[in-house]
């Protein structure tokens, strides 16, 4: 293919690459910041409702069972699906040393995406959840998301094929994977679950395969693209091993979504074995990534944790690798008999998505934004956002994980009433409300920063328009043509 013949193309300058993402990054970030506020508000409400289950119970859309999936969807699809992709496309363009191709199409795809998220979140709150975890948004909304992702993903892949760097930095593979994975998992899940396509537990297998795929190969891949890029840069060293990164990459691509089944599931035995084997092999991938980061970082932990951005990346890397290990541990027979079907599951999701992906994305988002739009987010707001989000996410994930262990241990011995067995874990669940609160407050900082820049841009635009209006009529045509 001629397009892989990168050598004949002149490489664009870094600032040209950045500028090609101007509107893509601005629109995606602005909309994602809004969803972040919405999503963190809904999840906070859900969490508070566990303290006061009868509070605000007359409105159906405020019930726990709707707030939780709606909030999670807003965070995952509304925030990460846009901010993560904005950051990912920037890294892709930078590592491929090529301007983002068809940026207007990406902006359009982003609009479609938002339409989908809006319909999805409202749909869940209105009672049209599908009842399938990670796929709760009504099928129509999901289809619009897939369409939007298809448009955006195509632009990403076209950019890669037009690259001027022959073998881009590994982050590029992870971004490409993420762009393709969403379309793949989304399309297949929609097709297989539509109508009466899948019967019985096959529905659960499709749903879990989808969720695991999105967690590891969409969100996880975006998080890793950032971590693999930022961590070496922050300590000013090259990545320890490109080969090891390749091993991790392919192990994840091939094996991560196999982790859809585990001990105790109501499925044939061979499927449980396949699930365990898949989880084990995917863990090899996580280990390869972890080892690579560890070797890169050797002796430079202090440098990494010396800056706020480094702390975010450091905590994100620890969450990703630690979460991967915990997930493997949690799938072992003796452990899963205790922590299976408890809060542990929710804690793990927060550790992987909130810690591993979200913190990584917000670490580079300010730079991406500044490079692409030429305008900086206020530093005070950035650090407030970073701190509140980081502490918030930790205070959600750790208490929920502990709640799971306490709850599982209490349930393991059949004693007293069910409510009594629940008491110990509820303390930790309530502690997580503190985390949700900090997390929610923090998100206003990002929104304020983005709105500020938006206002600046508007003022500039108004200034230009005014200047133009002030020019005598007969010279306008000249000005417009030149």
């Amino acid at each position: 293919m001629a397009s892989s013949d990168w050598t004949i193309k002149p490489a664009p300058s870094t600032s040209e690459v950045d500028a090609s993402l101007r509107w893509v990054v601005f629109t995606l970030t602005a909309k994602s910041a809004l969803w972040l506020v919405v999503g963190s508000f809904l999840t906070l409400l859900a969490s508070v409702k566990l303290h006061a289950p009868a509070m605000m119970s007359t409105a159906s859309w405020l019930t726990y069972g709707r707030l939780l999936p709606a909030g999670w969807s807003a965070l995952v699809y509304g925030f990460l699906g846009q901010a993560g992709v904005a950051v990912g496309l920037w890294l892709l363009a930078r590592t491929c040393v090529q301007k983002l191709q068809t940026p207007l199409l990406v902006v359009l795809g982003g609009c479609l995406w938002n339409l989908g998220v809006l319909a999805g979140v409202i749909g869940i709150l209105a009672g049209h959840s599908t009842g399938r975890e990670w796929l709760e948004m009504p099928a129509g909304a999901m289809a619009v998301l897939v369409l939007g992702a298809g448009v955006i993903g195509t632009a990403g892949w076209v950019t890669y094929s037009a690259r001027t760097e022959s073998s881009p930095y590994p982050s590029a593979w992870f971004v490409l994977l993420a762009l393709l994975a969403f379309v793949w998992f989304g399309t297949v899940a929609l097709m297989m679950l539509g109508g009466e396509g899948a019967r019985g537990v096959v529905q659960v297998l499709v749903q879990r395969w989808f969720a695991e795929g999105l967690l590891k190969l969409w969100l996880g891949a975006l998080g890793l693209a950032v971590i693999l890029h930022e961590l070496p840069t922050l300590v000013n060293r090259p990545l320890a091993s490109r080969q090891l990164a390749l091993v991790g990459f392919w192990a994840l691509v091939f094996f991560a979504p196999w982790g859809a089944t585990g001990h105790g599931d109501p499925v044939p035995r061979w499927l449980v074995s396949a699930g365990i084997a898949g989880k084990t092999l995917a863990t090899v991938g996580v280990l390869a990534i972890g080892l690579n980061l560890l070797k890169t970082l050797e002796g430079a932990w202090g440098t990494l944790f010396g800056t706020l951005r480094g702390r975010l990346i450091g905590v994100a890397a620890l969450s990703y690798v630690g979460g991967g290990m915990l997930q493997f541990l949690g799938s072992l027979r003796s452990v899963s008999s205790v922590v299976g079907l408890t809060w542990f599951h929710a804690g793990l999701e927060w550790l992987l998505v909130g810690g591993g992906v979200m913190l990584a994305v917000i670490a580079v988002l300010p730079e991406t934004f500044e490079r692409a739009t030429g305008r900086a987010l206020a530093p005070g707001l950035i650090s407030a956002h970073a701190w509140l989000t980081m502490v918030g996410v930790i205070l959600v994930a750790i208490p929920l994980l502990l709640a799971g262990v306490v709850q599982g241990s209490a349930l393991a011995k059949v004693a007293g009433t069910y409510m009594e067995s629940l008491q110990g874990s509820m303390h930790f669940v309530r502690l997580s409300s503190l985390g949700f609160t900090l997390f929610f407050i923090g998100q206003f900082a990002l929104l304020a920063g983005v709105l500020n820049v938006g206002r600046e841009m508007l003022m500039d635009f108004v200034g230009i328009a005014k200047g133009w209006a002030a020019v005598p009529g007969d010279r306008k045509g000249v000005g417009a043509r030149s």
């Binding site: 397009s3 892989s4 870094t14 289950p53 009868a54 119970s57 007359t58 159906s60 019930t63 726990y64 069972g65 709707r66 939780l68 999936p69 590592t95 009672g127 959840s129 009842g131 975890e133 022959s166 073998s167 930095y169 593979w173 994977l177 994975a181 297989m192 899948a198 019985g200 537990v201 529905q203 297998l205 879990r208 795929g213 190969l217 070496p232 840069t233 060293r237 090259p238 490109r242 390749l246 392919w250 691509v253 094996f255 196999w258 859809a260 001990h263 105790g264 109501p266 499925v267 044939p268 499927l271 205790v338 079907l341 599951h345 349930l411 393991a412 011995k413 059949v414 069910y418 409510m419």
Partner: protein, 248 residues
């Protein structure tokens, strides 16, 4: 920014140089798990059909009555599955049987007719796989009491279970002025949960359907792949979480 890592060494990447090859490689990897986790099980399980249960001589699982099917959609729409599982794990794996959540583990056959299947991921509340047979099993006289219990519980869980963290669902009910004689459907609510004098609380069709669904949840017929486990002999069989349950 822009340290050495952005323009890395060029070794080791030759395999991933051609765009179509990378695309196909990733797609191949992604489809591997699809074949294994989705397509193969669909071949094996998707063709499953009802079996004739030895105990009853009837086809299992039977279709839920129409009202219960509507109730399943309320269960989905309200997100009851965010707090309740519908899966009983095997003997010796967790204490699901010990809590009396079932007489045996649940297996693929049990879910054959459900659309959607809502296994759940986090148990904030007890498992509901067998909530229809756990309370006053087989006792047809207990049926009205069970319906009344579930309705009261849904209207305000703390009216039957102190310190419950389950949400109240008053919007599935209607509070209306008593018009002449009180309705036979009116909930028997006491104390702080009772409506003002002259008012009564009656279930809306959604609540009635939801309870019909709950009562249809029974996965305890003995199956060849999942025989019923004899009840525990130490006498601590816990029929239900509900201490105030009249059907107990």
């Amino acid at each position: 920014m822009g340290g050495g890592s952005r323009r890395p060494e060029r070794s080791g990447g030759s395999l991933v140089n051609s765009t179509p090859l990378v695309f196909l490689g990733i797609l191949l990897g992604l489809s591997a798990s699809w074949w294994g986790m989705v397509v193969a099980p669909k071949w094996q399980l998707g063709t499953g059909s009802t079996v004739v249960a030895k105990e009853t001589g009837q086809h299992y699982p039977s279709a839920r009555p129409g009202l219960a099917q509507q109730g399943a959609q309320i269960y989905r729409s309200e997100g009851c599955n965010t707090c309740h599982s519908q899966v009983v794990r095997p003997e010796g794996f967790g204490s699901d049987l010990g809590w009396g959540w079932g007489r045996r583990r649940t297996v693929a056959q049990d879910y054959l007719r459900d659309q959607p299947v809502m296994l759940g991921t986090v148990r904030v509340g007890p498992d509901l796989s067998n909530i229809g047979s756990r309370m006053g099993a087989g006792d047809t006289n207990a049926q009205p009491a069970m319906v009344a219990y579930h309705l009261k519980h849904l209207y305000h869980p703390r009216s039957v279970m102190a310190k419950s963290v389950m949400p109240a669902y008053p919007y599935l009910f209607e509070k209306r002025p008593v018009n002449g004689a009180p309705s036979v459907d009116a909930l028997k609510l006491e104390g702080e949960f009772a409506p003002e004098a002259g008012f009564e609380v009656v279930p809306r069709p959604e609540a009635t359907a939801l309870v019909a669904y709950l009562l249809s949840l029974r996965s305890s017929i003995s199956l060849p792949e999942a025989p019923v486990v004899p009840p525990p002999t130490n006498g601590v069989a816990v029929a239900t979480n509900a201490t105030a349950n009249p059907a107990r």
